[in-house]
């Protein structure tokens, strides 16, 4: 091994380094700039520069960096773009947020950027050390962000709850990692995989380790039984932060779970070769039945999420439970264990990104005007802010999976994957859940358009938010009728490189 390879690799992570430079700049710039909104523009610029560097560097494919710490492949490329775009959207989202207006400054954008940096590393980690560090980086920034409005009691409660849950989950996960290290003597994914394939370890031992490691993943993905933090945190945290946690943080959880399960926990490394056929069926290593386990977790997650969402009175809480349910739908792709299942998860994440941030954006717009997210206050909003309300209706029906919107196509591929694997019980429960979810999404739409209130004052939408509504809303509609480019994209980018 070349001892100096870590120094040479520095130039290859230009996008991540850009983010580091900007984080440092925000911390110092806080002392220099009086107008705090300037940091928002700087952060947008930072993400765009990182994106440009990423696209330039992408000419070099599939490389392992820093002595097997992180890997750059198509999969990590996909998620890096995902997180950088999430950063841009969340920056615009935060510009006109009444909750954080007073405190908006360098720290806020530095924390968001640090979280995104951690997520990018999470998507590329091929070593448990790096995995854990990047996960902690995301968690730490998220705790701070959810407690960002210091004078708000609920925000403080959210941060503390998140911290306690997060510390417990990562403690359990690190215990699992420690046991795996004790068993194999390494933290490196590819070496662990080689040892697991040899099949000398008893299945029960491996399953125990897997359950322990899942604790950390499940927490990030907000799956049952590690979902309890989500409603309280989303409700207490400032709305842009809630949207950020619901989409980017969850996406990072899925990225890391996908990489770990599909490089270490399956036979061979089929995803590192050329494109597979749709029905390619992955075989778990040692014939461990983790797909079945994830199927059961999927059923529990979507059922708990949807049933609890039914009688929520706060829209943010409702969206929190709905995001739990959506994590359950996405987990069906894991349980199916075929190639459609794999890229359907990526496709669904793209659609979920658009529609979920959009729904939170509407909550923000309403909150800016009337200072609450109570569902009864949504009465008559269809007249008071027609454009935003129509967009919200699109996002809601897409979340419910009504054709011809993006959410329907996303669900279609997930169910196709499940049916291809003949997991009929899972498909039936999933479809029943989708029907159930329509009730509470439609309830919000009904409040907005069919019921009247004596309030007639217009709800203003700021320019940044109109821009976001357009760039989030139109793709949701377009993806419902013309989705094949995005589908081809996620197919090409569902490629995991393991040396």
């Amino acid at each position: 091994m070349n001892l100096f390879s870590p120094y040479i690799d520095v130039l290859k992570i230009a996008p991540q380094l850009t983010l580091v430079v900007f984080i440092l700049f925000f911390v110092i710039g806080e002392l220099v700039f009086r107008r705090k909104i300037v940091f928002g523009w700087f952060s947008v610029a930072g993400y765009i520069i990182a994106l440009i560097f990423l696209l330039i560097g992408h000419l070099y494919q599939n490389r392992v960096l820093f002595s097997y710490q992180i890997v750059e492949d198509k999969f990590s490329f996909f998620f890096t773009i995902f997180f950088l775009l999430a950063g841009i959207v969340i920056s615009f989202f935060s510009f006109d947020s009444a909750e954080i207006k007073r405190d908006l400054g360098g720290e806020y954008f530095a924390l968001i950027m640090a979280a995104i940096l951690g997520m990018i590393y999470m998507a590329g980690a091929v070593n448990f050390l790096m995995l854990y560090l990047s996960l902690e980086m995301v968690s730490l920034s998220s705790y701070l962000l959810s407690g960002y409005t210091r004078d708000d009691k609920y925000s403080a409660e959210a941060a503390l709850k998140y911290l306690v849950f997060g510390a417990t989950a990562s403690g359990i996960m690190i215990m699992g990692i420690a046991y795996l290290y004790g068993l194999t003597g390494t933290l490196n994914f590819s070496v662990i995989r080689d040892q697991l394939v040899s099949g000398i370890f008893p299945s029960f031992t491996l399953l125990t380790i897997l359950f322990l490691i899942f604790a950390g993943f499940f927490f990030k993905m907000s799956l049952v039984p590690f979902h309890m933090w989500a409603p309280d945190v989303y409700e207490g945290a400032p709305t842009p932060v809630a949207a950020f946690l619901a989409v980017a943080s969850k996406g990072a959880g899925f990225a890391i779970a996908l990489r770990f399960l599909y490089t270490v926990m399956i036979q061979g490394s089929p995803l590192s070769g050329k494109l597979l056929s749709d029905i390619y069926h992955f075989i778990p290593v040692n014939n461990l039945d983790w797909p079945l386990f994830l199927g059961i977790i999927s059923v529990l997650t979507m059922t708990v999420g949807n049933i609890t969402a039914l009688n929520q009175t706060s829209v943010k809480r409702l969206l929190a439970y709905s995001s739990i349910a959506h994590a359950g739908y996405m987990l069906m792709g894991f349980a199916a264990m075929n190639y459609i299942g794999f890229y359907a998860v990526l496709f669904y994440l793209v659609v979920y990104f658009l529609m979920n941030i959009g729904a939170f954006l509407f909550v923000q717009v309403v909150y800016n005007k009337i200072g609450t997210d109570s569902i009864v206050k949504y009465r008559g909003l269809g007249r008071r802010t027609p454009f935003a309300a129509v967009m919200m209706a699109i996002f809601l029906f897409s979340l419910a999976g009504i054709p011809p919107l993006g959410g329907f196509i996303g669900k279609f591929y997930l169910f196709a994957a499940v049916l291809k694997s003949k997991l009929y019980w899972l498909a039936v429960i999933g479809i029943a859940n989708s029907v159930l979810s329509l009730y509470y999404y439609a309830r919000i739409a009904k409040m907005m358009f069919l019921e009247d209130s004596h309030e007639k004052e217009k709800v203003p939408v700021s320019a940044a938010h109109i821009f976001l509504f357009v760039i989030l809303g139109f793709p949701v509609v377009i993806l419902g009728v013309y989705w094949s480019p995005v589908l081809e994209f996620v197919k090409i980018y569902s490629h995991l490189f393991l040396p």
Partner: protein, 162 residues
Amino acid sequence: MLATMLIYIFGALAIFSGLMMILYRNPIHSALWFGLVLFSLAGIYALMQAHFLALIQILVYVGAITVLIVYVIALLNFDQRDLVGKVTILKGIAVIVAAILFIELLFYVGGLYVKGIAPPPEFGKAANIGLATLTRYLFPFEVISILLLVAVVGGVYIAKKD
């Protein structure tokens, strides 16, 4: 031979003080027992050739963290009568989950006997750790610095008054 015996002694001490930590009602006592847990772990590390880790364990955990915990308990200044636990359904579930986990881990230990991995010679030497940190694990080392920066920025932000 002596090393093996000492490992058992430190292990027993760790378990005993861990039990004491959760059984004591007074949080200050619990914190002190927790310090003893960490100390016995340091002893185990030292016996497993990880001298550097053992020293750091004593410096950081026994020295700093335990003192910090004691300070926090002293500053909180709460009523001890609030700490009297009641038996609830949730606690019952917690006990069941913990029992399942314990049994699972017993199986895990059973699995370990299949193939134990001996650490390479000179495993935990300070020189090796230094070399590894600045060559092979340089990158995670640098990532930790950003992690700490985030913690510092966040800590200052949360603590500062307007």
